[in-house]
């Protein structure tokens, strides 16, 4: 019997989903904000794993380089800038059952979306069609088919950079 020595994708998917969801919960529930940022980073890495499963390896690398490499660094930096010496300054206690209400809303939303998807499931594609997507596919499409969003992206980047700098600058 010939087999390929490979873990079935289902197992990888379940492990990735568990890691991603648990890390996302850690990001929101951890007592210390630093742990929250670490949880957020792990969650991003899990999502990069999903991109790899979805045959988008360049997106996975983009996700890690931009989110884990840059955004998490910026978040850590800001956390260290806004700490007060007495420790965690925001009490996360909910008033009058706000926490329960939020949980209900979020759970209802998630369950309803998942339910609709599951109902529509038989009509959707069960297995991905076999299509080899070379890595170099994304670049030409970005540049040749969507040139206008590119210029808008440049403007958004400039606006964000200058806006954030002007905001954070000490005013005199």
């Amino acid at each position: 019997m010939e087999v390929t020595l490979a873990v079935p994708p289902d197992v990888v998917f379940v492990i990735l989903a568990t890691i991603t969801l648990l890390a996302a919960i850690l990001a929101l529930q951890a007592k210390e904000l630093i742990y929250g940022a670490i949880g957020l980073g792990i969650s991003f890495i899990g999502i990069a794993g999903f991109f790899v499963l979805l045959d988008a390896p360049y997106l996975a690398m983009l996700q890690i380089a931009i989110y884990v490499g840059a955004v998490v660094v910026l978040i850590l930096f800001t956390i260290m800038l806004v700490r007060r010496e007495e420790g965690e300054e925001v009490t996360e206690k909910s008033e009058r059952g706000e926490g329960a209400a939020g949980l209900w809303i979020a759970g209802l939303l998630a369950v309803s979306i998942a339910g609709i998807a599951a109902l529509a499931g038989p009509n959707l594609a069960q297995t991905p069609p076999n299509a080899e997507l070379p890595v170099s596919e994304l670049g030409p499409v970005l540049v040749t088919q969507y040139p206008v969003p590119l210029v808008i992206l440049a403007l958004v980047l400039s606006a964000a950079l200058l806006g954030a700098l002007m905001l954070a600058k000490v005013e005199r």
Partner: protein, 343 residues
Amino acid sequence: MVNIPTTPADLIPFIISIITSHTFITLIIFPGMIHLMLAGSFLTWYERKLLARIQLRIGPLYAGGPGGILQPVADGVKLIFKEVILPYKADRTLFISIPLVLIFLGTLPFAVIPFGQHWVIANLDVGLVFVFATTSIFPSMIIIFAWASNSKYPFIGGLRSLFQQVAYEIPMWISALSVVILAGSLNLVDIVNAQAKIWFIVPAFLSFIVFFICVMAELERLPFDLPEAEPELVAGWYTEASGAIFMALFLALYLKLYMMSTLVTDLFLGGWWGPSFLPQPVWTILKTMVVATAIIIPRGIYPRIRVDMLIKLGWTRLLIIALVNVFLTLLIVNTGVLAAWGL
């Protein structure tokens, strides 16, 4: 592809077929674990010996072997059995686990870095970006470790380290971009194969200079070792590390040095290409050692630069030179100069 064993008699051929498979050998022996451990510990000895020679000292001598080459083993044994001191009010979980994460991040990129045509663990299509993505996680881990130490020197050093690595990552990527344009691929094996006729150091010389400077800054080597400036910050972000934690950080840093040297070799110095009287991996390792020597030597020679000079060098000069060189590369590729050189 192997046959799954059904009887106990089949088990032994099964195991043998796994052990002798190419993937297994690459994982465990050559570009894999054993080679990396040897290379990492060899570099610690090599740096000490080289610096000693520069300063007219002898360096490690008594640990056995020629020139005390067993010194890393002695150091390792000593450090493993030393006491691990947790600073007062340090964050215990992070303080213990971050060194392991740093070793992990230092070792992971070797999966895609080739040492020969077939001597690569995983021939990944996005290899170069994989290396850059992995190394870009280092700064956040360092600042978390520094924060976890709950001490002033590590915190200042960690902030400096974060800021410096972040500042030099962009010029590094953009100077690697001209190599990517020349090779037309992100796969490191393809990039080296594209250098069979001419090494990329020739058409992209400015990129090589920028990349090399950025590598030195990323590795926190002199003259860019502000994060661990000994006279000012004791030992920078690993001041509080002791015993096994210190050993892990040390190993991670030297693995990163080896990784970056190999990357320079593969991107600019033609990887395994050389006269064929030596096998391919030997050429890669020889060139890597030359690059590592060039990275280490300034530590014995140069003073440290100031923080504001560091900023200005990284963000104005190097970035602009790298961008200019991308345009030069575009011109070279478009006007067909390279075709005359056989690329």
